[in-house]
Each structure stands twice: as C-alpha cells, then as structure tokens.
Symmetry: C2
Subunit: 144 residues, 2 copies
DNA sequence: GACTCCGTTTAGGCATACCTAAAACAAAAA
DNA sequence: TTTTTGTTTTAGGTATGCCTAAACGGAGTC
C-alpha cells in the first residue's frame, strides 16, 4: 500500500485545481499510469475510506483522506524545497512526490520543521491553485 | 527491482564484517526477511551478474555488484549523517538503508557532496569493520 | 430516439517480492 | 559410518500494482 500515498497526493493537488469529483483519467495523468491503474487504486482508496468514488464521474477525498493528503503535501513541499534550495536541483518535484509517502513520520516531521523554522512560515498553499502542469511549490513565505 | 539495492547493501556490509561468501541466512537477518526470500533475491542478483552464488555456501559481490554497492553505501552513509546531524534523529540507520536505493542518482550525489563538502573528508569506511548489529556510520572525518 | 465518441471500468494477465512448509544438504555427533 | 542437527533451497501460494484489450456509459449529434 505504499503507492496509495502517491494517488492521494495527486488527488489532493487536483482538487485544488478544479473542483471534485476528479475523474480517474486526470489522476492517471498526474501519477503517470494507465487510466485502468488509476481506477483500481481509487477503488482501493475507497475501500480504505480515504476517497469517495462516483462511478464514471470521479473521486473526492473524504475527511480522513484529506487529512492524510494534507500531511503528504506538507512533506512534498518540504522535499521540493530541500531539493531546490539545499541540493540546488531543479525539476525534482516529481521525485519529491514519489518520496513524500516513503518517509517515516519522524523524518517527514523534522524535514518540515527544518523548512518552517529556517524560512519563516512558508505558505504551504502557495501554487496549489496556480497554473502549470505540476504542482511546483515555490515556498514564498506569504501570499495574500 | 527496487529491492535489489537493499540486498546489495546488506551484502556489502556483511562482506566487511566477515569474509565472503556470505550465507543467505545472514543476509535475511540484515534485511529482515525470511531466509527463503533472501535466497530468491540472491539468485536474481546472480542472474543480473551482481553476485556470485555458491549453493549452500553463500554469496559474494562481483565487480559490478561491488561498484553498485559501494555507491549505495555512500548514499546510505550520507543519509545516516543527514538524519542524525541535520534532522537530529537517532536510530534511523534502517530507514537510511531502505532509502539509499530509492534516491535518484542526482539527489544521492548532491547529498553525498553536501556531507563531504561540509564536513571535511568523512571516512566512509568508518565502522564498516566495527562491531555491532547494524552498520552505524559515525562519519568521523578520518580514521587511520 | 438512435448513434457516435470519448472517457471509464472490467477482465484477464503478468512481474515483483514476499511467506510457510517441505525437501535437500553439509557438517558434526554418536 | 550412520544419524542428528541446523541451515539452505525448492515448491506452492499470496498481495500489490501495473498493463492491454474489450465492454460499458454518458453526453452531445443527427
């Protein structure tokens, strides 16, 4: 069930771009898998109570799913920041997404704090509602 | 084939503790899997030319395997350092081992340089020949 | 109202990586 | 030399996560 995190994060991001339900085809694009794979995984997520699924219409995060996804997104943002600003690597958002679900809670937590404590309060929602094919967290310290 | 890295790293460490061939049972312990699982994976590694396998005796890294394993070990050491000295987390060597094989070459490389450049030349071999149930890279800046 | 199109879901398969239980083996004890 | 003991390997099976091709459904067109 390691991959569930990847789909949860994709759905979280998609829901910030357009309103749910999010069709499985869009999730498939975001995780770079076949539509069939996305459908299957969304069904598993529904079984786990993390997603509401309306056949032929799409998926919506449940409260539980939203909670997990928000955590994952925080980790993802921290990793993206780390790759870009610490390791000086661009275009590693994809790897950040893949890795977000693989870190232990401790490591994820410390990484997020490393970012927050060292950079003021970063606006984690930054760019969530922005344009672009991928969620590129710029980590500006405030937005509105 | 993501898990191959885990076994390769275990074998690398084991070979520094006692002389090869390393019996599959010992690898099984190091990766926390059943002996049967270790045997199977070692057979796959042999097929891939990364390991020499003598039935009922054990495995030895080939030159190719050694090369890959040494890289993995470098990444592992860097991750361990990062978890301990940057994130201030102890007892995360296990996670470092699991993660070492999951990082892209770029990220692994930058992470290693982050460690090397910021800490003098760390002795990557430190503790490889030391006692203890796990390989705990202390990252002292020199040894002999 | 029937048809066409396009996206979604189901069906059938496959690779990886694991497990338990049974068989095979090697080395030491009797 | 035979037996016992402990380890390794094989056999058979399972879960996850993916794929392609076929079937299905819905929305707009004729």
């Amino acid at each position: 069930m390691t991959r569930t995190a990847r789909y949860l994060l994709a759905l979280y991001i998609a829901e910030h771009r357009s309103s749910p339900p999010i069709p499985s085809g869009r999730i498939a694009e975001l995780v770079d898998r076949s539509p069939a794979a996305a459908t299957e995984m969304l069904q598993r997520l529904e079984t786990d109570g993390l997603v509401d699924l309306e056949a032929y219409r799409g998926a919506t995060l449940t409260d539980d799913g939203l909670e997990r996804a928000a955590d994952l997104h925080g980790t993802y943002v921290a990793l993206s920041w780390f790759f870009r600003d610490v390791l000086d690597l661009d275009a590693h958002e994809h790897e950040a997404m893949e890795m977000a679900g693989l870190l232990s809670a401790e490591v994820a937590d410390r990484l997020v704090h490393l970012l927050v404590d060292g950079n003021g309060r970063p606006d984690v929602d930054a760019r969530l509602d922005a344009d672009g094919p991928l969620d590129l967290p710029t980590l500006s310290t405030s937005r509105e």
